[in-house]
């Protein structure tokens, strides 16, 4: 019985709807391209090229579940990327070291956001716009916009395995870790609690500061790792490579069904959101639509998803009210 109701609940959920959209879109693309688009190679390529943004999107998901938003992640990632690149050029190192450094640098910058968000009672958007501008402005001044390249051989040589491990492998690992944290740990529940009602969570004994530190630190760490992946794929580090692409990441999270009422959102939804954005962009290229229209299509899909979700919430509320009256 409970199993059945869980199943029917899933069918009504936003994630299921999204899954249908993704499957239909993939099928349409496959039909148009004569099956080329769903060959394993193409799918791996697609995931590879979206793995960096996907990793960053997972961090963003945490922030949005906790009831905030982070615009500064690209600037944070850029700092981590640049420092890691400097480290590799001057000291060498290995994969473990660069992963750690980029995650730690990102997390430290995330902590700054967390403290500001915790202390100031203003929308997090405004705070992170401020920190984004500070970080970006200072970094551009310090680096004069110079691009770094010519990394050591262990980082520069891409084999099929290492390419897969660094891009798709990292994305899957981060997704799994995020799923575990949100579903199985106390901290995960606290993140939802703060997002649902911060005041209530505080009165239940949740340290909101602790949650903010975790959430923005995690977002910073994923931004650092995402930036590292981007650096690996393009074999260069520059402050401007990431800056200005905030919307591409936010689109993935928002399409994943997050933040529409606060305290909600799931890793599976975000994963589908990543797939949807990747399929849309890839599909437009395959169909031959000019890339100038890409923003329009993704933006329109976002707005439509808002309307559909909002309408469903309204409809379910209306039903509840009816049900209540009947009782």
């Amino acid at each position: 019985m409970t199993n059945k109701s869980a199943k029917s609940k899933y069918i009504k959920s936003y994630e299921f709807m999204l899954l249908c959209v993704v499957v239909i879109l993939a099928a349409v693309l496959a039909a148009i391209t004569g099956g080329k688009s769903i060959k394993p190679n193409n799918i791996v390529d697609l995931l590879t090229s979206y793995s960096a943004y996907g990793v960053i999107a997972v961090g963003c998901l945490f922030v949005i579940i906790s009831g905030g938003i982070d615009i500064s992640f690209m600037a944070v990632g850029a700092v981590a990327q640049y420092l890691v690149a400097l480290f590799m050029l001057n000291m060498g190192g290995n994969f473990i070291a660069v992963y750690l450094i980029s995650a730690i640098v990102g997390a430290l910058l995330g902590f700054i956001n967390a403290v500001l968000v915790n202390r100031l009672r203003v929308p997090t958007l405004i705070i992170t716009i401020a920190t984004m501008n500070i970080i970006y402005g200072l970094m551009m001044r310090l680096t004069s916009g110079v691009r770094l390249h010519g990394f050591p051989a262990w980082f520069a040589q891409k084999t099929k395995v290492s390419l897969f491990a660094v891009s798709v492998g990292t994305l899957l690992a981060v997704l799994a870790a995020a799923w575990y944290i949100l579903k199985k740990t106390k901290m995960g529940r606290k993140v939802y609690a703060v997002g649902g009602n911060a005041e209530a969570a505080r009165r239940c004994g949740v340290s909101v500061l602790q949650v903010h530190l975790f959430v923005y630190g995690f977002a910073g760490a994923t931004a650092g790792i995402g930036a590292l992946i981007k650096c690996y794929l393009s074999q260069q580090a520059s402050i401007e490579a990431l800056y200005g692409n905030e919307m591409d990441v936010l689109a993935m999270v928002v399409l994943g069904g997050v933040a529409l009422s606060g305290g909600k959102g799931s890793v599976s939804g975000t994963f589908l959101g990543i797939l949807l954005v990747a399929l849309l962009s890839n599909g437009m290229i395959l169909v031959g639509v000019s890339s100038y229209w890409e923003d329009l299509v993704i933006g329109a899909v976002i707005l439509i998803s808002f309307c559909v979700t909002g309408w469903r919430v309204l409809a379910s509320k209306r039903e509840e009210r009816k049900g209540g009256a009947a009782e």
Binding site: P123, I134, T309
Partner: protein
Amino acid sequence: MRKGNSSIRAKLNHDSGMLIILTVICIVFFSIMKPAFLSVDSFASIARQIPEIGLFTLSMMLPMLVGGIDLSIIASANLASILMSMYITSHIERGEENIPAMLIAIVICIGTCTAVGFLNGVIVAKFKIPAMLVTLGMQMVLTGISLGITKGGTLSDYPESFRFIGNGSILGIPMQFILFAIAAAILVVIMQMTSFGMRLQMYGSNQIATQYSGINETALLIKTHMLSGVYVGVAAIIMASRLNSASAGAAANYLMRTILIAVLGGVDPNGGKGKVSGILWAVLLFQCMATGLNILRVNSYIVIALYGVILLLAVIVRTRRYE
């Protein structure tokens, strides 16, 4: 600059008075650093730049008053000026004047922005989606349309009479400044003397109380976003006229500045508080500072970082006051 910042913390609490004092400090500081700052030229450039950023800030203020934000204003202005340019270039031959066609073009521009505001308002009010997310999506859609139409290029060349709006002057006062003064005065009247203005401010200060008082929340939010759109449209006309061109990526750095000025001018980002007069003084302060930094040839990236610092400081000072 350091002088200005340290006194922000101590004195900003008295609102407009403090903004004026900060502006004076700013002017004195820049004139000491570089006497060239105290010239007719620099003040003329301040007067020419205030209207655009001021109108954009007013259109940012309105949604902020109801606890929202509008991230689509710049994209909306760019799309509107592109549509306006298309109409002008297709209906007015180069070198000719055609006042009726120009008026239609202006109506197209303001109409587009108002329609965008209407759409934003409907999605925000009907479906209860945070304004930030809606306008973020809207920004993508609008930029996408603009890019699709222009293919990344620039539309330019307007008739002389249209360029007068952003470059001409009457009795020595820049034309766009006159338009800005009229627009600001109208907004003051709307905010202070109409029931809509009163409801707008009430809604921002206590949404639940407003709902229980029987006010049509949906209509109020839609009207607020539409009014904001009208101001975006006027700003778009001035901007297109001054630059004599329209493109999808114009004025991209204005968005953060409008938020900065709005917060500096005393608009509470959580809604409810904010006055047109505060915005006017904050725009003056901001533009003096921007012009001064420009004259001092401060590195543009440092300026970006500095705006971030000022935004944070303003938020810190302001939030203390709201509590």
